[in-house]
Symmetry: C2
């Protein structure tokens, strides 16, 4: 099955990482994959555009079925391979509601992280304002405090919605990325604990962004957050 | 079942509308609901914050299960009430991949619409730039052309992913909103045709934003797009 899958990905991209973790969890190793460089604009290459007209990574195919939206790809893979590997959508209604809630909130978390880490890319020169930068940082602090409160409410050793689920698949890469960009473990102890709990999980360790081994911390963009 | 559900909503909000369409499609009429006013900042009221700490609408509860993220709520309701009402996630793998893909892309469409329609809210005075406004409009045109091409590829009388599905639940309110803000049916004929196909569907007609009956077209913000 995995042999009929192709993933074009970029290292360090949360959306790509989500799909890779899901493929591992569902025991779909052996898929074709190719690492492309954002720096070299390879995500705008013909090879990508043929699968993903948005020129974004991931670009993912299963046979003739194309599903590039990473959260959609995770949902699709769980649905198609329900009984294979780990179950990623809980049956229990309360856990399921919490899982979908946190999974979708994870998209807001990454958006707010990006607005701070990549402000210079989001706002071209001449359109940058200290007031906007300050507001983006305040919004990120509020967002991170929300996640601290969520993680403060989960049982010890538990994941975002009980057992490991698609909520963790979507959210963990965002949290790893926050620490990679200098987030303070002292100021965000619950997130730091969650990070420690998950970083050595096989599906996550195997798919760890390769360049993060060389540069343990990319920058201090989030040091003061 | 529906009696144990509570929805706090705002009129004209795509996220709220999605949940309401899903409730209709799943034959979950009879849920408790309350229309709140964004203008009066009622989405920041204690009543909302108790369900949704983000102070956003929708705020949705099913018994003790809280699921405020609208796309998550749609997925949850479909999963909890699979055999009730209309099936909203197709079993066929090709249709299912396309459904998840379009559903998640729908979130990009609304984001790009909001950046143009609500530019003055997104960028406070003193942070507005003609260059940003121009770029937002160009990005929206590219996005709308993508949807024209998607809709150009579906079979006549068909929905975004074959039968009516969560893709349509998420995307239709965005397209209705685009036309409400003056989008040209001449320039976007496939979207106009899709709009006509769906606007009288019972689940959509019943949940049509009440104030849109009074003001058929809110503004001409998208007239030149």
């Amino acid at each position: 099955m995995a042999k009929s899958m192709t993933l074009l990905w970029g290292a360090g991209s949360s959306p790509c990482w989500r799909v890779m973790i899901t493929l591992e969890e569902k025991k779909l190793q052996g898929y074709k994959h190719k690492l492309l460089s954002f720096e070299k604009e390879e995500h705008k290459s013909q090879e990508v555009l043929e699968i993903n007209p948005r020129g974004q990574l991931p670009a993912f195919k299963h046979g003739d079925n194309i599903i590039n939206e990473s959260t959609g790809a995770c949902l699709y893979l769980e649905n198609q391979f329900k009984s294979q590997g780990n179950k990623l959508i809980p049956d229990n209604p309360a856990a399921q509601a919490l899982m979908y809630q946190r999974m979708m909130e994870g998209l807001t978390l990454i958006e707010k992280l990006n607005l701070v880490v990549f402000y210079d890319l989001v706002a071209p020169e001449g359109e940058r304002h200290d007031s906007a930068e300050k507001r983006n940082k305040e919004n990120l602090v509020a967002e991170l405090q929300l996640w601290e409160s969520y993680l403060g409410n989960v049982a010890a050793g538990s994941y975002l919605a009980g057992a490991f689920s698609l909520a963790d698949v979507v959210v963990f890469p965002n949290i790893a990325y926050a620490f990679h960009y200098g987030l303070s473990a002292e100021r965000y102890p619950k997130m730091a604990k969650y990070y420690s709990l998950l970083k050595d999980r096989p599906s996550i360790k195997t798919t760890w962004p390769p360049q993060w081994y060389q540069i343990a911390q990319r920058s201090e963009a989030l040091k003061d957050i």
